[in-house]
């Protein structure tokens, strides 16, 4: 039997197969087909020549949702809200992070004012009906929606995180009168308070739903035609999968599925190497992503904001998203000078097209890839599996723009670009670790993406991690991570309880309710596992008077008020350097993650008897940044003997990336073929 994971990226569609019999992994790549991504899926499966009857597990990761949003290609959407509040979607939170700008802008809401409607209804902050829902007034709204060719409607009422009935009734009424429209109710997606955030989440779900529905229907049909009949699952942003049906209902939960899968890949590496505490570091073409995994569990957040930057408030999406920091520094990031003459790298990227100057596709700006070529790290003849040769002359021409301004030679200029980019990367790595109260010495750094292994040793050294691990296929990290992914869904409810009134039975009953919701979710979805469900319970808590909360994970053993409070004090201290032991505490939001405990692929050890001499490709001059210029031996990863130990400085080349090991670091190749650097 074979497990199959497919990851559709902007440029390539990656496929990873895991043969459960012999424990072997194989990977395939073909060009993505943006106009209909399902064609790329079929192409890649055909390329692999797999016997489709043998496929026992199918997981899909893609960018349909995020692309539809960022390219503004969703459907015409309307919003229905409580009387008096249709402008909430446009007012947003009124914040102005671009604070020294006399022409400040807000993001444009995804529903125009003319399609934001109000109905008479009101529920109090206690969840009681103050004004009953006036269903008849929906008739006129439905007429206007039909006239305006609205394809999707979001419904969000005040305090619906407490009282969901009105949203449901409204939805049922519209369904009857306007059956062809797609409907999203906010409480179906999130039961957390904050009206703008919930409205925006519902609106974005509605905005992409018809598109995602069509896409998965089409894909399902094509997969069936190929003879694949196992259940189909889709990767979500929360680090788990859902059935295609689940994805069709709540497409917004897929918004950041790619990065979440990558983090799962790091967890899998951790499982194989017996490391529970991991800092995941992934450098792609345009961005770097960092995440922290504590005790084998990635962190999830509901504070995610799409298109957020230092100067843009972005769009909040209140669904669980694997907590990671993403910055604009990747292989294609462009080096430039700001108005004060300081060298900057990114966030502008040359992307894949035209790409870095050395791609010879018309790019003329100096990028990190060009800099890595000039510093000798990248071999121009062995880039992207040797699919095309990099042109060093073009890289030199581009880097010279930086060299001439700085008044230095080409190698120093290229090395400066790398240092500036790495300074940004280290800030991101610190943000997920030191700045959240974690000591990097307790963690290993797992590097993924085409660029990760080129920077990991330098950054790992500065961060002070215990070890750096480069798994095989680092360029296929997301697909690889999906192979090990459980089915998962998250449930949460806001309910304020003060510590002095807290009753463990009340808290248990809240969790029981959430467990019931979770069980129903798994039962009502055909392709989901019915039996094994693992529950993780977390509570957002704070000191009375605070607004922001700290999330505390509670295990069965700790189901005792005093114990929970004790954990909270410790977590607060970890996050904010102090605790207030005599202040009363509030329980705010109760969270439950339910997952099937699907069997993990058992990757077999691959110990070999290769000879080290056979793996040596050449010796070349490489600039190791702050560690200077060295004549480094270059090894071929595919021929490295397992169990070997080699001292840096050295370079390991493979199809999709290059690993750079510094002087005074030692490389070991373990029995899984992982590169382990200390």
């Amino acid at each position: 039997m074979t497990r199959l994971a497919i990851d559709i990226g902007g440029t390539f569609t990656d496929l990873i197969l895991f043969n459960e019999k012999n424990g072997k992994l194989t990977a395939y790549k073909s060009l993505s087909t943006p106009s209909d991504p399902s064609s790329g899926v079929v192409n890649t499966i055909n390329l692999s020549k797999i016997d489709t009857a043998n496929i026992s597990f199918f997981v899909h990761g893609g960018t349909t949702v995020i692309n539809a949003i960022t390219e503004r290609k969703g459907v015409k959407t309307a919003l229905i809200t409580t009387l008096g509040f249709r402008d909430i979607l446009g007012i947003m939170r009124g914040n102005r992070p671009d604070m020294y700008n006399l022409k400040p802008k807000k993001p444009t809401p995804f529903v125009d004012r003319k399609l934001r409607f109000e109905v008479k209804e009101r529920v109090t902050s206690e969840g009681k009906i103050l004004t009953p829902l006036n269903l008849e007034s929906l008739d006129e709204i439905i007429d206007i929606c039909k006239k305006n060719k609205v394809e999707s409607i979001a419904i969000q009422f005040l305090h619906s995180y407490l009282f969901t009935e009105n949203e449901k009734k409204c939805s049922e009424y519209i369904k009857k009168k306007f059956p062809e429209v797609s409907i999203t109710i906010s409480s179906d997606i999130t039961r957390e308070w904050r009206e703008f955030e919930r409205a925006n989440t519902a609106v974005l779900n509605a905005y992409v739903q018809p598109i995602v529905l069509k896409y998965f229907d089409n894909l399902e049909k094509k997969l069936n035609d190929l003879g694949i009949n196992c259940g189909f699952t889709a990767m979500q942003s929360n680090g788990g999968t859902t059935s295609f049906n689940g994805a069709k209902r709540q497409p917004i939960t897929l918004v950041e599925s790619g990065p979440a899968a990558g983090v799962n890949g790091a967890v899998l590496v951790g499982n194989l190497t017996n490391k529970k505490n991991i800092i995941y570091f992934d450098v792609g073409g345009t961005t770097t992503k960092c995440a922290l995994i504590e005790n084998g569990k990635p962190k999830v957040t509901t504070e995610y904001k799409l298109e957020w930057t230092r100067f843009n408030p972005g769009y909040p999406i209140r669904v669980p998203v694997t907590d990671l920091v993403e910055i604009g520094a990747g292989g294609g990031s462009i080096a430039w000078f700001d108005s004060g003459g300081s060298l900057k790298v990114g966030p502008q990227s040359a992307g894949a097209d035209p790409g870095p100057s050395s791609y010879n596709k018309g790019g003329i700006e100096p990028t990190i890839t060009d800099a890595k070529l000039i510093t000798g790290v990248i071999n121009p003849k062995n880039f992207a599996s040797g699919q095309f040769e990099l042109k060093k002359k073009l890289a030199e021409k581009a880097i010279n723009k930086i060299a001439s301004v700085l008044g230095v030679d080409l190698i120093t200029a290229a090395s400066s670009i790398v240092r500036v980019a790495e300074a940004n990367m280290i800030n991101a790595l610190k943000l997920v670790s030191i700045q959240r109260g974690y000591d990097p010495r307790d963690f290993v750094l797992v590097a993924g993406g085409g660029g990760g292994p080129m920077h990991a040793c330098t950054l790992g050294k500065e961060l002070g991690v215990s070890e750096i691990i480069v798994p095989p296929y680092p360029g296929y990290f997301s697909a690889w991570g999906m192979l090990a992914t459980d089915q998962r869904s998250d449930f949460a409810i806001t309910s304020l309880i003060r510590s002095e009134n807290a009753d463990i039975n009340k808290i248990l009953s809240i969790f029981n309710k959430l467990e019931e919701d979770a069980k129903n979710y798994f039962l009502s979805n055909n392709d989901l596992d019915k039996n094994i469900i693992d529950f993780e319970k977390r509570i957002d808590m704070r000191y009375l008077g605070q607004e922001h909360t700290v999330t505390v994970t509670v295990t069965e053993k700790e189901f005792d008020i005093e114990k929970i409070l004790k954990i909270f004090h410790l977590e607060h201290k970890k996050a904010y350097t102090f605790s207030l032991d005599n202040t009363s505490i509030e329980f705010v939001t109760f969270r439950l993650s339910a997952s099937s405990n699907s069997p993990k692929p058992k990757i077999k050890e691959i110990s070999n008897n290769y000879k080290i001499d056979d793996s040596i490709l050449e010796k070349r001059e490489v600039n190791f940044g702050e560690d200077g210029l060295h004549k480094a031996t270059v090894y071929n990863r595919n021929k490295l003997p397992t169990g070997i130990e080699i001292d840096g400085p050295l370079i390991v080349e493979e199809d999709s990336t290059v690993t750079m090991v510094l002087p005074n670091q030692k490389l070991t190749v373990d029995n899984f073929g992982f590169l382990r650097i200390k």
Partner: protein, 554 residues
């Protein structure tokens, strides 16, 4: 010295200030800090000059330098490792007494290298009214506890006496001490980070970076000023009365650009005010710096270097230069008028980086009493968003926080109703009072209405731009006014400035903020924009016809 290393250290200093801000926001106790984010954090060098400030709000842009310089002057040789100082000086340096600075000198190997500073608005610091900024206060003594640079920690030892004095003089000691804790956590984290930076790069490189970043910023400023035409630009405006008199208060600015310098001369500004609608020179200069930074380089990291070419001229005792012991509680409204003058002067010089006038300041509402649901006291201080002005290429933004704040959030209604005994009846764009029309129109203000759910709630406020309106430019028309409406026993009254008054169950308070000014002549507005506004009910068919000359409207 290698310039790239200096830039990298600069980036780390900025990351330190930003991290301080995150710690302070998340650990604080009062909504005005954690929800509204009325605070800032940063670093000053050992001469007291600000070298980095968190991307948070603008009003503290200029106050950090003078805050630290007060400490340096007062304690001179007696600044020790482990000391932490408290300061709230509204006249020379700062804003109002509520803004309490926590300042920590940072030592490496017994050498003073820098200061970490956190300045946050405490919900209450004592004085005559809850919230401490009574519109009736005529002297600083009515506005709360003064902390003229005192030690909270002495060589690492906490001075409990100070905490006792503060706790017994403020109304919500748990909030105050909670916020103080959060500020201390912020400066402590800065100390840790700065030590890590010095350990990696050495103190010399870090010192060189301090000079480098100020000089780099100064150079950009100078270049920008050289690109502005030399000349004298005079603007004037009116403050619409204060809490004691309704008479207009004239304000004036003469801005002189000469080669590499700009002088801001406020001579002719009125000294007419006993009320706390005044600001000290610290807040005034901060506002000037904010607007200047906006027209020079909105995205560069802020520090004192940017502002070296600026000269301020103003006699003591005006509404922009209050002196001890005058009250300054409502400095934010008054100093925003100063920002507005500077902005207006620059608007005629630099078209592409400015816009028409905005709703001005925060028009906050203060509401307090006892919550009937739990019999606990509550205090709801809320700044409100308003309309911004139009510019050369776009309409003004609607419902955005004023110039002196920044990454400041409005209060979620669902949270607000849980926390306070009030219900929100509507929250929407203020399309009722009109807007500054033009080729590009102003942004809309907001309407937010509360219904009281219990008796005996006190309310006070003191709005700006209550009679004069946000200015239009190049043929664009004026915006609208800020005001509040109270409806009690079937009677409505309009309020702009009031000392604490009582509201009861069932009464409503409607908070209305102004819309921004327009840019360019309305008849030049693109037809599509007019039609969009009409369709989205931002303007009426009458306006479309009469102002925008749209003919074939149904």
């Amino acid at each position: 010295m290698d310039k790239v290393t200096l830039d990298i250290i600069w980036g780390k200093l900025q990351a330190t200030s930003d991290e301080m801000g995150v710690i302070l926001a998340k650990a604080s106790m009062s909504p005005v800090i954690y929800e509204v984010l009325d605070f800032a954090c940063g670093l000053c060098d050992n001469k007291g000059e600000c070298i980095s400030i968190q991307n948070g709000i603008t009003i503290f842009t200029g106050t950090f330098t003078s805050d630290v310089q007060i400490i340096l002057k007062k304690f001179d040789k007696d600044i020790n490792n482990g000391d932490i100082f408290l300061l709230n000086d509204p006249h020379y340096s700062g804003t109002h007494l509520n803004d309490v600075s926590v300042i920590k000198p940072i030592f490496v190997n017994d050498k003073l290298i820098a200061f970490a500073i956190a300045d946050a608005h405490w919900a209450d610091i004592g004085g005559s009214a809850p919230g401490s900024i009574s519109p009736q206060a005529s002297e600083i003594y009515q506005e709360g506890v003064q902390l003229p640079g005192v030690r909270l920690y002495k060589k690492g030892e906490i001075q409990k006496d100070i905490i006792d004095i503060i706790s017994s003089n403020v109304r919500y000691p748990t909030l105050a001490i909670g916020d103080l804790n959060a500020e201390v956590a912020a400066v402590n984290i800065a100390e840790k980070r700065l030590n890590e930076i010095v350990k990696k790069y050495g103190a010399d490189k870090v010192f060189t970076t301090f000079e480098y970043l100020k000089n780099t910023s100064e150079k950009i400023s100078i270049k920008a000023i050289q690109n502005m035409p030399n000349g004298i630009y005079e603007v004037e405006d009116i403050i619409d009365g204060d809490s004691f008199k309704e008479d207009p208060i004239p304000i004036k600015l003469k801005l002189t650009i000469k080669d590499e310098e700009i002088e801001f001369d406020f001579d002719g500004t009125s000294d007419f005010s006993e009320s706390p609608l005044k600001c000290g020179k610290g807040a005034l200069f901060s506002q000037i710096k904010t607007v200047f930074k906006s027209v020079v380089d909105p995205h560069g990291f802020s520090n004192e270097g940017w502002f070296r070419p600026l000269k301020l001229k103003i006699p003591d005792g005006t509404v922009f230069s209050a002196t001890y012991p005058e009250s300054t509680g409502w400095y934010f409204e008054t100093s925003s008028y100063a920002a507005d003058l500077v902005w207006k002067a620059f608007a005629s010089i630099i078209k592409n980086k400015t816009s028409a006038g905005h709703y001005l300041a925060l028009s906050p509402s203060f509401l307090y009493g006892t919550d009937h649901r739990n019999n606990e006291p509550f205090f709801a201080l809320e700044p409100h968003c308003g309309g911004w002005g139009a510019s050369n290429d776009s309409d003004g933004t609607s419902g955005l926080i004023g110039i002196l704040d920044g990454d400041t959030y409005n209060y979620s209604i669902e949270l607000f109703e849980n926390k306070f005994p009030m219900r929100c009846n509507q929250f929407k764009f203020n399309t009722e009072d009109g807007v500054g029309h033009g080729e590009f129109r102003g942004g809309f203000g907001l309407i937010r209405e509360y219904e009281l759910l219990c008796d005996d709630v006190s309310f006070y406020c003191a709005d700006g731009r209550t009679k004069t309106k946000p200015w239009g430019i190049y043929g664009g028309t004026e915006g609208s006014n800020n005001y509040k409406i109270i409806r009690s026993n079937g009677k409505e009254r309009k309020i702009t400035i009031t000392p604490p008054i009582k509201l009861n169950k069932g009464d409503t308070l409607k908070i209305v903020t102004a819309s921004g000014g327009g840019y360019g002549k309305p008849e030049n507005r693109e037809r599509k924009r007019v039609l969009d506004d009409l369709e989205n009910e931002f303007i009426t068919p009458e306006i479309a016809q009469s102002v925008y000359k749209l003919k074939d409207v149904k």
